[in-house]
Amino acid sequence: MKRLLVIALSTLLFGFSLIAQAVSVEDSKGTFSINYVPQRIVVLEFSFVDALAAVGVSPVGIADDKDSNRILKEIRDEIGDWASVGTRSQPSLETISSLKPDLIIADISRHEGVYADLQKIAPTLILPSRRATYEENLQATAIIGKAIGKDKEMQARLKKHDEVMAELAAQLPKGKEVQFGVARDDALFLHTADSYAGGVIRALGLKNANTGRSDDAYRQTSLEQLLTVNPDYFIVGNYVTPSIVDKWKSEPLWSILKAAKNNHIYAVNPNTWSRCRGIISAETMGQDLIKVFNAKK
């Protein structure tokens, strides 16, 4: 009986793998081919979780820094339970291996050093995530869709994403200048036009504030420099409260900021805006912005 079941199952699996013919995609290390539909996926960056959740696929393991709250609630609800495989910077390879994945999605910036080891565990798709722009992120998402055999769904989802973004953009005033920054206890980091958040802001028909030199995505900024950037709308993600921005608020110079004068400073969830980087979080960011612009009326 047991043997029969095994035979039946394996024929079934074989059948599936025939249906899902081999796909080849270009990742950051060249051509990646896979000839089955992966069922047990381990992802090592948050943006890939977003991509999987967008087409309703649940990963079995996530490098979530052992803090499940770092993943957006919308996404958590979508994907259900997962096993933590450690930090994004040093995921535990043996935990990954113990999950017996059939696909690993890794970040070229963080995990290039262990790419060879990851490949020994399972086929590894390596794509840009950290330091990736909005456009690069969309491309990576499309590639993930192909690799997990959900190309059609993903294309549809991406198209829907474009529509959603266009719709959101339509509700937002054109060309307003918006700047996003992450505030910690003792430092403010502005996300410039080259960053993911900067790209989303542009995609929503808004404008990035001019932050001067633009060779880096995140820039530590003093109050004086913030004054020179002087954005119309200032969106802050506070990793801790009270953050440095709260301290600055009591200073006379703060009131000179255009955004402070017109009450255009808004707090948002920094996980959505800075860590997650994906189409779902981009849409959430759009909704955040709509709240921002409706609030003033």
């Binding site: 450690g86 040093q90 043996e94 963080r110 050093g113 060879a116 080891d117 995505a217």
Partner: protein, 318 residues
Amino acid sequence: MATRSLPFLILAMIGLLIANLMFGAVSIPFKQILAGLQTGNEHYFTIHEYRLPRTILAMLVGAMMALAGALVQGVIRNPLASPDVLGVSHGAGLAAVFYMTFFPNADISWLPAVALVGSLVAALMLWWLCGSHSSTIKLAITGVALAALYASCIDFLMLVKPLEINNALLWLTGSLWGRGWNQLAMLLPWLLLIPFALWLAKPLNLIHLGDDSAISLGIKANKLRLASLAIAVGLTASCVAICGPIGFLGLVAPHLTRKLVGGRHQILLPATMLVGAILLLLADLVARTIDPPIELPAGIMTAIIGAPYFLWLLLRTK
């Protein structure tokens, strides 16, 4: 007394070797370990591809760093000296951080080579500044000053290009994460230095009697110093290139060993290698199992284990 502790050390090391193979994010029973060495076994990756090379690497790196420390302390004759005072690890760090910040897209597998070049250049720099005639203490302080220079350059780079901070910091703390057979193969040629180091044991004892008596016994003190330091540099540089600077190992291990087996270099040198291996195996084991699946860099653990012991020891020897 001296020779009696050797079997214990060997036993402890073997025990830790096995423990390192058994425990981790997932525990594997002892019986399955051997089975895990065969391809196709369910633990093949964990045992053969992951834990085994990492464990061997920890053992070798620990032994080499400790040996380098014993050599440097033997030559400089100061309990506070360690390979760190030669500025070698900071030189490697500077080269690595430079490489990571200015070539963020370059192949990361070149990093050990870059770090190795950095540390060797640092050693040459020290030699160029001091020559072979400086007093050893002056050599140490010059090394320290050079290390301070490299450290300030590292800080400057990390502050000007903040994006790579975490990658760089991880490397700078020293970690065995993600090191496998390839890195082990890179380390192997450097093991040749170990017999040379052991061969120096006897003359090292003699210069402890003082330069004059050593010379009268037919030993050229300067040449001996140069040789010992060069070997220490080679050992440190190769380890740092692969694992990053693992702090305190070279400082603490020789001290601990001296307490166990006394100061005769013929026994001290082999024993300190055992102790170094034990310390790093322990540090890596703790770093992997303290809060799985989170992996801490082993360098943090050696600092946390080594630092308080080191302080206690120094205060007691006063």
